[in-house]
């Protein structure tokens, strides 16, 4: 059987294995980490990248879409962009490596490479399930990142912005973040290229909210036009905790952002919001697996997608409600504007409910902008094209306006409008 898979190995699969063999001697990690990496690479070797025959990857056939992988070359990343919100605490990884001597007032910060060297990272390098290709690749290659601990009852007023910067080549980062009981914070995970070539990026954030934590986590993905971005967010939400999670996709050629969320404490609330701005010949996939495991939890998920040109978008939203998770209230919506005849969007909402006393719903729409809204704007003298652009902008801006931090809303709206100005 192995012979067959070897024979069918794609260029990208071969390049991954080759890259691992070339780097294995210098990847940080103690014995436990090394064996964890070996297991992951063996899995990649024998199973390859997933195809459409794997249900979780049905709409993103990675084996076909990932045609090649750029060579793993070091890149010097020197600049530090202005944070989205003035006054934010900024920590930066540069081409996969954490800066030395980084500090944030009130937060414990360590380099992830230390966790690898000490071996405490080994358990986290395991995969979530057999289809966890992002976990496999990231776990095999990851060298660094940041480990953040927000102490119990800490309130961090200004956002913490994690800038994940890279040049061309291969970049793999990981960010284990724990929010102590009763802590309150906003974290912005921002992915940006500093070169114009091609990069292959994986990034895993592994976050836990202890009881009563109140967290806003915002992923802003603005990768370059040739970049592949495979992101994964692993989340555990404790009792009476509140998580506002935003995913803004505004870049990349081949993008998959996975959200693996476990609502594990009673009385907790999740607000998930997503904005996908898609254009050119790109492929962007947001895959959510949300488990409500305990009684009395609530969640809402709203995604707004705008698709131009020949771009393709995918949203897979799985909500699982366990047998014990009575009184779960979960609402999911995925709304798409298709701006060209060749634009595509696939939405696959799934509900898997074992409890009998729950409120769960999902809806997916694909539509043009509202003719009444356009007429109203035009009746005030706004020309048709300007009016359309305003309404497209409004369709997604509505989502970010729910945030409390006015500066953050402005910053995200600026990203949205500048993207739309470049594509409309």
């Amino acid at each position: 059987m192995n012979m067959q898979t070897t024979a069918r190995q794609t260029a990208a699969e071969a390049a991954l294995i080759e890259a691992f063999n070339a780097q294995v001697g210098e990847l940080p990690g103690n014995g436990a980490v090394i064996s964890a990496r070996d297991r992951l690479v063996d899995d990649l070797k024998s199973n390859g990248l997933p195809t459409r025959r794997i249900e979780a990857w049905h709409y993103t056939d990675l084996k076909t879409l990932l045609r090649a992988i750029p060579a793993a070359v070091p890149a010097a990343v020197v600049d530090t962009p202005e944070p989205l919100v003035a006054g934010s605490a900024v920590i930066t990884t540069r081409h996969g490596l954490a800066d030395q001597k980084v500090g944030i007032g009130g937060v414990l910060v360590n380099a992830f490479s230390d966790m690898l060297s000490e071996g405490t990272a080994a358990p986290g390098l395991s995969v979530i399930d057999r289809d966890d290709t992002i976990g496999k690749i990231n776990g095999s290659f990851v060298r660094d990142g940041y480990v953040l601990e927000f102490p119990a009852d800490a309130t961090i007023e200004k956002p913490v912005e994690i800038q994940v910067l890279h040049g061309d080549g291969q970049v793999h980062t990981r960010f284990p973040v724990s929010f102590g009981a009763g802590s309150k914070a906003t974290v912005i995970e921002r992915h940006l290229p500093t070169a114009k070539g091609e990069a292959f990026v994986t990034s895993v954030s592994d976050i836990s909210l202890e009881d009563g934590a109140d967290v806003t986590w915002i992923i802003v993905q603005q990768q370059g036009a040739a970049d592949t971005h495979l992101g994964q967010l692993r989340v555990r939400v404790g009792s009476n905790a509140k998580l506002r999670l935003y995913v803004i996709n505004a870049g990349g050629r081949l993008v998959r952002q996975e959200l693996r969320i476990d609502v594990a404490g009673e009385g907790s609330d999740l607000q998930l919001r997503g904005v996908n701005l898609l254009g050119g010949e790109t492929h962007t996939d947001v895959t959510l697996v949300l488990g409500h495991h305990v009684p009395n939890t609530t969640s809402t998920e709203i995604f707004r997608n705008v698709v131009f040109d020949r771009a393709r978008g995918v949203f897979q939203g799985m909500i699982k409600v366990a047998l014990d998770a009575q009184k779960t209230d979960a609402r999911m919506a995925c709304n798409t504007l298709l701006m060209s005849d060749e634009a595509e969007f696939s939405a696959k909402p799934e509900l898997e409910i074992f409890a009998d006393d729950v409120q769960c719903g999902h809806g997916a729409t694909v539509a043009d902008i509202d003719a009444n809204h356009l007429y109203y704007l035009m009746a005030r003298g706004v020309p048709r094209n300007t009016g359309r652009a305003m309404l497209v902008n409004a369709f997604v801006a509505e989502i970010v306006e729910e945030l409390e931090d006015g500066q953050l809303v402005e910053a995200l709206e600026a990203i949205i409008s500048s993207w739309l100005e470049r594509h409309a």
Binding site: A371, M378, A379, T386, L391, A394, F395, E398
Partner: protein, 251 residues
């Protein structure tokens, strides 16, 4: 200023004819009231004047300052100075009220070849007009019309009218849903805009609004035609006797 000649118009989608040979002339400086029972075509007439694409003009002509406007889209008509205050202003989530006002004012100015407003000038104008209409500044921080009460929406329409300084104002049932205090504020706002070079068409069901915005002419619309024209006393006659007599005469 406005001449409507033998206008016939129908709903584009299903071909239902609503306006059936309507004639109306409104001069500069005039306030004309259009009254009529439900379903007579009052709102349709206002939509057609504004250029709404759900309606098709099948015959006749609409001349504005001597020029046909039938080929113009709503934005072009607005830039030429035609303004419709809606009976049901739409809520547009995600569009900030201030941004909308600024875009609308500046796009109209651009279309007329005028310089755009500076931000301080724009803000000053909005603040002044909003204060006159007793509009709470917090309202202007919200998305356009979102969460506004019925009365707030109507006041926001008059605010837009005051800022855009149109030449032909069409008020579609602006009195509906207003209590008497709000009605007075709105009427004062409209009266402040009365001028020799501006015409106002007030579409209404009831005499009440016309006590505050006193019309020069009153026209009764029924089944898509103007069946009677008179002065303000006609409105009082309708209030006292209803439409039945006039409709009977016309038939």
């Amino acid at each position: 200023m406005l001449e409507i000649k033998n206008l016939h118009a129908r709903i584009a989608e299903d071909g239902t004819e609503i306006i059936r040979g309507l004639n109306l002339t409104v001069k500069a400086g005039e306030v004309a009231a259009i009254m009529g029972p439900n379903g007579s075509g009052k709102s349709t007439l206002s939509y057609i004047l504004s250029g709404r694409e759900d309606y098709e003009v099948t015959d006749g002509e609409i001349l504005y300052n001597g020029e046909s406007i039938l080929e113009l889209d709503p934005a072009e008509r607005a830039a030429k100075g035609i303004f419709l205050a809606f009976q049901y202003p739409v809520e547009i989530p995600g569009v900030a009220t201030m941004q909308f006002l600024k875009v609308a004012m500046n796009e109209q100015r651009k279309a007329r070849g005028e310089a755009e407003l500076t931000t301080p000038d724009f803000i000053r104008r909005v603040k002044e007009s909003a204060a006159e209409l007793k509009i709470n500044p917090d309202m202007l921080k919200r998305p356009l019309n979102v969460g506004f009460s019925g009365g707030e929406k109507k006041r926001a329409e008059i605010l837009q009218m005051a800022l855009l300084e149109p030449k032909l104002c069409v008020l579609d049932e602006t009195d509906s849903g207003l209590d008497i205090d709000a009605l007075k504020i709105v009427a004062d706002g409209v009266n402040a805009l009365r001028s020799p070079d501006r015409a106002v068409i007030v579409i209404t069901h009831y005499q009440r609004l016309l006590d505050y915005i006193v019309p020069d002419t009153v026209h009764v619309l029924y089944k898509g035609q103007i069946i009677r024209t008179g002065d303000k006393s006609l409105a009082h006659e309708l209030e006292a006797n209803g439409y039945a007599d006039i409709i009977g005469e016309a038939a």
